[in-house]
């Protein structure tokens, strides 16, 4: 880790977003992770996405569990709300916060240990319920804090730093998320910000459960020749189905790609995602197709990345529960407890 604070000076020519902030204004404390950790690149990508979307930092709640990944919310959005919860319990804390105040942007940051092992059930249920959030898993395939044992996402047959072969089957969180009904599912790589930043931005704009699995090499314990989550391996086996080239606000999109190569997806907030297809046959609106595509490519040892599935008409937990538009935490006492006359009326209607 680095001991000095990152200098306050910034490049004099840095651009400002609509709020007048530079990307430096979205930083947090200096990272205490190992030098070169993929998680730091994800941190930088979240910073970049929030800067580009001109998000007001105080409208964001970043919630995490335990692990290297779950330390990272300290390193971005220093002026946002944050909750570092119990191991694996990020999804339930996030769900509770979301129910209490539906107006905030929820960033759930977790790791493969936090989400695929101790918090696997929590992960499943928050996705299943359609909580409006951006759930990011910083997936390195090892338990870095305890010196690099295989995690539940480590591929069968991959080797540890000491040369031990993993004999357990891997959990593919993307496949599970698709199966559980997530309405925005993507996979990316910490070493490819040009793909990751627009994905995070699009996920934040999505209303519903957005899930992004980000392969993030562990420099200390999982970046060697036998690893399937190393920089070299991921770069060699990366099969991107599409790239998000343009993400704009409410302005009309002017894209000059050949017809049929760009697909425009309109989001709830009116923003649009322009998807440049790489695999012409891939349809990101086909959940079943996506699952098959994933399974087929996984069998070939390929890592499918890009926006894998999106349902532009998704609903979230609040719609399922038919809650009021006003965040619950701002409802006044007389609204929450309208008095005995109203109670009498309800009782009467049930008689």
């Amino acid at each position: 880790m680095t001991y000095i604070a990152k200098p306050k000076f910034h490049h004099p020519g840095l651009k400002k977003n609509a709020l007048g902030y530079t990307h430096r204004d979205y930083e947090g404390k200096i990272s205490t992770l190992c030098a070169g950790c993929g998680h730091d690149s994800i941190t930088a990508s979240i910073i970049e996405a929030c800067y580009e979307l001109s998000i007001e930092p105080h409208r964001v709640a970043k919630i995490s569990g335990i692990g290297c990944s779950s330390k990272t919310p300290d390193y971005f959005l220093g002026n946002s709300h944050g909750f570092n919860s119990v191991h694996g319990r990020m999804p339930s804390v996030l769900t509770g916060a979301n129910l209490a105040n539906r107006d905030l942007i929820y960033l759930g940051v977790s790791g493969d240990g936090d989400s695929a092992s101790i918090g696997f059930g929590q992960f499943a249920h928050s996705i299943r319920r359609g909580v409006n959030m951006t759930y990011i898993v910083e997936n390195n395939g090892v338990y870095g804090l305890t010196k690099g044992q295989f995690s539940a996402t480590a591929d069968r047959g991959s080797k540890s730093k000491k040369g031990v072969t993993n004999t357990d089957n891997a959990i593919d969180l993307v496949a599970i998320a698709l199966q559980l009904g997530a309405t925005f599912v993507a996979r990316s790589f910490s070493g490819d910000k040009s793909q990751l930043v627009p994905l995070i931005a699009a996920a934040i704009g999505h209303k519903g459960a957005s899930f992004i699995d980000v392969i993030s090499p562990c420099i200390a314990f999982n970046n060697h020749a036998g690893s399937t989550k190393s920089f070299d391996y991921v770069r060699e086996h990366n099969d991107a189905v599409n790239r998000l080239d343009v993400l704009v606000g409410r302005d009309p999109i002017a894209v000059d790609y050949a017809p049929g190569t760009v697909q425009v997806v309109e989001q709830h907030d009116g923003s649009k995602i322009a998807l440049r297809k790489i695999d012409a046959d891939y349809d990101p609106h086909d959940r079943l197709g996506a699952q098959t595509f994933l399974a087929r490519h996984a069998a070939k040892g390929q890592i499918v990345t890009g926006l894998l599935y999106v349902d532009p008409d998704a609903e979230d937990l609040h719609e399922h529960l038919n809650t009021v538009e006003t965040p619950l935490n701002t409802l006044e006492a007389d609204t929450l407890c309208p008095g005995s006359a109203v109670l009498d009326k309800i009782n009467a209607s049930l008689r």
Binding site: T2, K6, K8, H11, P12, G13, G36, D40, I219, F231
Partner: protein, 599 residues
């Protein structure tokens, strides 16, 4: 772009903006670090080797280093490099033991004309090598313009005595009060080499109506300053007009304030902003209640019965032609006459070589300047060299020192039977500063402090005594604070392509967004694709060879803080912080003979 050749001595030298800008290439960050460590004597000796007059320059240098300082591109003000140099001089111990010892004479004799900074630098370089150096000066003491033209309230005699003394103590013969009247007879004395460092001793005249009639109260600036310096003049009228906008004008007006001038005005032809005087010297003058009036061209001296009563000025304004050149044209306002008792004319200096006969083998150009080789400082007479203001017209002390070093090298090579046009390469050292995992031999924690002000003597007290130094200099605490502002630009970011795994950690942590990983291209194209806009194309791009993904690493050197975070966050040691030290070639350096092409 081709991969950057960091082995070329100039590449990293350019990154050390201050050192690159300094004519003598003083290793600025190196001595600033030594000051921060309290090693004032060491800091002084680095300066002494490079610029010869640290105490004098620490008070009077024109500081080309400061406008170049990277800190000035990162925040409002550069590091106070000049005043830190003074700190080294003020707080050093007795350094006489560290000076070169007078060495046995080698039998070669060198005559130096003029006892100013250029000649003394030549003597400093040549005397320790055994040359018998004789310095001639018309004034009784050494120092030249440093002693005669710079007021004592800026540069006390004690400092001049000390630093000229160090040089004369090397076994240099100083012949004071000895004006050289004829080059021919000097040549006849069979010196092995002659160096002319006689400065630009003549103040430019202002030939407008009334100049002759009112002559008694019109003084040429540098002559008047010299007279004040030697005590021949000790008063002036109550109302004084100083004509001219250079540093000499600033010295004149401030001196006048101390000799009885109650209402002293500086009046310049150009606009205030375009004045030649250094901004800090203008500030100091204004602080002493001296107004600076601009866009006024003197047209006549008014006089009654041979007595000056004022100066008439035409009002002008600046107009710019299509090429952006400025012309001063009459503004149409009526002329203005400003009353005064005395006028000081400080409108420039000129060279004058009445003592060099035409048949000495020294050719002059159409501006009556000697033809001097800008690299070797040799004239058309192979035995005669020029330097300082005498070579290329009025500049300042630090340029004279730089010329002196180069001329001394030429003289030494010539008298060793070598080709003087072949200039030896400087010696360059570069070494890692890594001490531990995240520990460096320099303080990489960037200070956020603003530039510290140098304490000044109370104005009322200062204006009463012409010898009371106005600037008091930094104390130890202020000096430490100011030294910490230095960005250590000589500790270079060195990149090894083969070690890089393209994890982006350096690009993510860099506080200044200097580092970009992208596809290669032409420089103009690459500059468009950097993470942060490239505002200064004169600042180099550091480009790696192709990385594994086919991209290259591009670092814009422009606003790098040299904080070393890229190296701290690099998991493979592809980045390292390495101190670059360049030792400029002086006479007698034992050095490779391969000649170098660039500055």
């Amino acid at each position: 772009m081709k991969p950057t050749d960091i082995a070329a001595p100039d590449y990293f030298h350019k990154v050390v903006d201050c050192q690159w800008a300094c004519p003598a290439h003083t290793p600025v960050p190196e001595y600033i670090r030594l000051i921060a460590q309290g090693r004032y004597s060491d800091a002084y000796m680095i300066n002494w080797k490079s610029n010869v007059f640290p105490g004098i320059l620490g008070r009077t240098c024109d500081r080309p280093c400061e406008p170049a300082c990277r800190r000035g591109r990162v925040e409002d003000n550069p590091v106070a490099i000049c005043r830190l140099k003074r700190v080294a001089a003020d707080f050093k111990d007795d350094i006489r033991q560290r000076l070169p010892k007078p060495s046995p004479k080698n039998g070669k004799r060198v005559a130096l004309v003029g006892g100013g900074p250029a000649s003394l630098t030549v003597a400093r370089d040549l005397a320790p090598l055994g040359y018998h150096c004789t310095v001639f000066d018309a004034d009784p003491e050494a120092g030249g313009m440093m002693r005669t033209q710079i007021p004592k309230f800026r540069l006390p005699n004690s400092v001049i005595d000390e630093e000229t003394g160090y040089i004369l103590g090397l076994g240099v013969d100083f012949k004071g009060g000895h004006r050289i009247e004829s080059m021919k007879s000097l040549l006849a004395e069979k010196y092995d080499a002659i160096f002319v460092g006689s400065g630009a001793p003549r103040g430019r005249e202002l030939d407008i109506p009334g100049r002759k009639e009112a002559a008694a109260n019109i003084h040429i600036g540098i002559e008047w300053l010299a007279n004040v310096s030697f005590g021949h003049v000790d008063k002036i009228g109550k109302r004084v007009i100083v004509l001219g906008g250079g540093n000499t004008a600033m010295d004149c007006c401030r001196t006048a304030r101390r000799l009885g001038g109650e209402s002293v005005k500086v009046i310049v032809r150009s606009g205030f902003e375009e004045m030649k005087a250094s901004p800090w010297e203008k500030e100091d003058a204004i602080h002493e209640d001296i107004p600076i009036l601009n866009y006024m061209v003197p047209v006549a001296f008014k006089h009654v019965a041979g007595k000056l009563i004022g100066v008439t000025f035409q009002k002008v304004k600046a107009e710019y032609d299509a090429k952006g050149r400025r012309n001063l044209v009459p503004s149409g306002e009526p002329d203005e006459t400003i009353t005064c008792d005395d006028v000081l004319v400080a409108v420039g200096q000129e060279n004058a070589f009445p003592w060099i006969e035409q048949d000495c083998g020294i050719e002059f150009d159409k501006w009556h300047m000697p033809k001097v080789d800008p690299k070797t400082f040799a004239s058309t007479n192979p035995k005669v060299f020029f330097g300082g203001d005498a070579a290329f017209g009025p500049k300042n002390i630090i340029w004279a020192v730089a010329h002196g070093h180069d001329a001394a090298l030429s003289i030494h090579k010539m008298l060793s039977g070598e080709d003087i046009t072949e200039r030896p390469l400087p010696e360059v050292q570069i070494s890692s500063q890594k001490m531990g995992i995240h520990e460096w031999s320099y303080d990489n924690d960037i200070s956020n402090d603003k530039r510290f002000k140098v304490p000044h003597r109370d104005k009322v007290v200062a204006l009463k005594d012409i010898r009371a130094e106005v600037e008091l200099g930094y104390d130890v605490k202020l000096a430490l604070g100011e030294a910490e502002r230095c960005l250590n630009c000589d500790v270079q970011t060195v990149f090894s392509t083969s070690l890089c795994i393209e994890c982006d950690a350096c690009a993510d942590i860099c506080p200044m967004d200097c580092i970009t990983f992208t596809g290669n291209g032409e420089e103009s194209d690459l500059r468009q694709r950097l993470k942060a806009p490239s505002a200064h194309p004169d600042q180099d791009l550091y480009v790696s060879s192709d990385l594994k993904t086919g991209r290259v690493m591009v670092k814009d050197e422009d606003v790098c803080l040299h904080c070393g975070l890229c190296a701290e966050r690099c998991p493979t040691g592809a980045w390292d912080m390495q101190k670059y030290f360049i030792d400029m070639t002086h006479a007698g350096s034992t050095c490779p003979t391969k000649s170098r092409s660039a500055a």
